[in-house]
Symmetry: C2
Subunit: 255 residues, 2 copies
């Protein structure tokens, strides 16, 4: 409720075009391999100049849904699910899209002094005060992941007096005016240790997907450093690339 998120905001023309096309792709009106209408045709259809039409195509291309190129018509590639920035930033937002039955049990909320690693990631002094939240995330009441969120003190302070068992931390921070602008995730495979096994209810030595998240503000200040340990059978990450669009994903050795 009471979320005055955004004003009704008359939809932009390019959004209208994007949404129409995306829906046609998702509902099968346009199947993989099919050609889209030409830009000229879309201009007529939507009584628009080429700008908005091209912006719409650029969006669909970046989502990996279509392929475009000189001298030929654009073609549908897949009907992959769409995805929002929020659902990658906030595990709760992701879960609400995909799996309605997610819940969490808070293990620990409080102020603590930053260890070397966390301080480095958050770009604060070693030993300075930070806010840390440790929660167990459950799917259908089955443990799914251990989550440890770390915030600089001024960012996370409001969370010290917040019901972390029943609400989304990111949504609350967003409501308080904390503007998350970028999120950088890294992922690797690991084995569950004793603590993982106990909390997640799995045998020691099970596969674990280890995820780290660094989120920053518009100004590039680090607002959050989070670590997740997710049961290996539980989660798959997908990355979809189309030639010619920048791909904000890459592999590296070690962390």
């Amino acid at each position: 409720m009471g979320s005055s998120k955004k004003s009704p905001k008359s939809t932009q023309r390019y959004e209208l075009i994007t949404n129409h096309l995306r829906q046609s792709i998702e509902d099968g009106t346009l199947s993989p391999g099919d050609e889209l209408p030409s830009e000229a045709e879309l201009c007529e259809q939507y009584d628009s100049s080429r700008g908005p039409v091209r912006q719409a195509m650029a969006l669909l291309r970046a989502e990996g849904l279509i392929s475009t190129g000189r001298g030929r018509r654009s073609t549908v590639l897949t009907s992959a699910p769409s995805n929002s920035f929020e659902s990658l930033l906030s595990m709760t937002a992701w879960a609400e899209d995909m799996e309605p039955d997610i819940s969490q049990r808070t293990l620990w909320v409080g102020r603590t002094s930053a260890d070397a690693h966390t301080a480095c990631q958050l770009n604060v002094e070693v030993g300075s005060q930070i806010v840390t939240i440790k929660r167990l995330r459950l799917l259908n009441d089955e443990p799914l992941a251990i989550e440890r969120l770390n915030f600089p003190l001024d960012v996370g302070r409001p969370l010290l007096d917040f019901d972390t068992d029943n609400c989304s931390v990111h949504r609350e921070l967003s409501r308080l005016g904390v503007g998350f602008e970028s999120a950088n995730r890294s992922m690797s495979a690991a084995l569950s240790n004793g603590e993982d096994s106990e909390l997640l209810g799995i045998p020691e030595g099970s596969p674990i997907m280890q995820v780290e998240l660094l989120a920053a503000s518009k100004q590039g200040r680090t607002l959050e450093y989070a670590e997740y340990r997710v049961i290996g059978e539980g989660l798959v990450l997908h990355v979809n690339n189309v030639r010619g669009t920048p791909t904000p994903a890459w592999f590296s050795r070690e962390s």
Copy 2:
């Protein structure tokens, strides 16, 4: 040699602007938190209209390097490494960027009939002929990953008579006119099985990053289905998102 890849191709204006700005970011002339010149200033600097300038900004935004927004100047977020479509599609291309000392030992190359899973992924009939390459990838002569590439027969046939020990498969296919246009990767954590352990020289039950790749043509036809099993300590995947740009990455349950 005879690679007439692309004509010298006078660089486009927007590429010039993109490259200049990206280099400024990478070499530290512009640091995270700094403001970029305004669009108007860039228009003057490059004697250009707004179109190319905005296209350059859109690229940098999609790469996760900058953040833009109404009413304020754009700011630098990070100086993350850049990355190409090729380096995500082809492990060899990735490795050449990051680690010069990669090599491979071919275990098996040949025609085989597709099992149910592979046939489904490649979108061919179960039992129809496909080309499969199984290689061990080594980094500094240490095993890094087991790679199994599967191609429809007409796509992969030239590889049957190809030196898969010393050359990049994707580069060769590209040279032969096979146009890879999109790549969809999915990743999960697993434990090494007996074969993994033997080939990779690790204890059974070690963490493994299991990667699947589906690559398609401009028309959406599936050209390749690849499976990798990478040693867990070897590889980290990064995904960088900025609010407002589509993020071609998402999580799901299971595969």
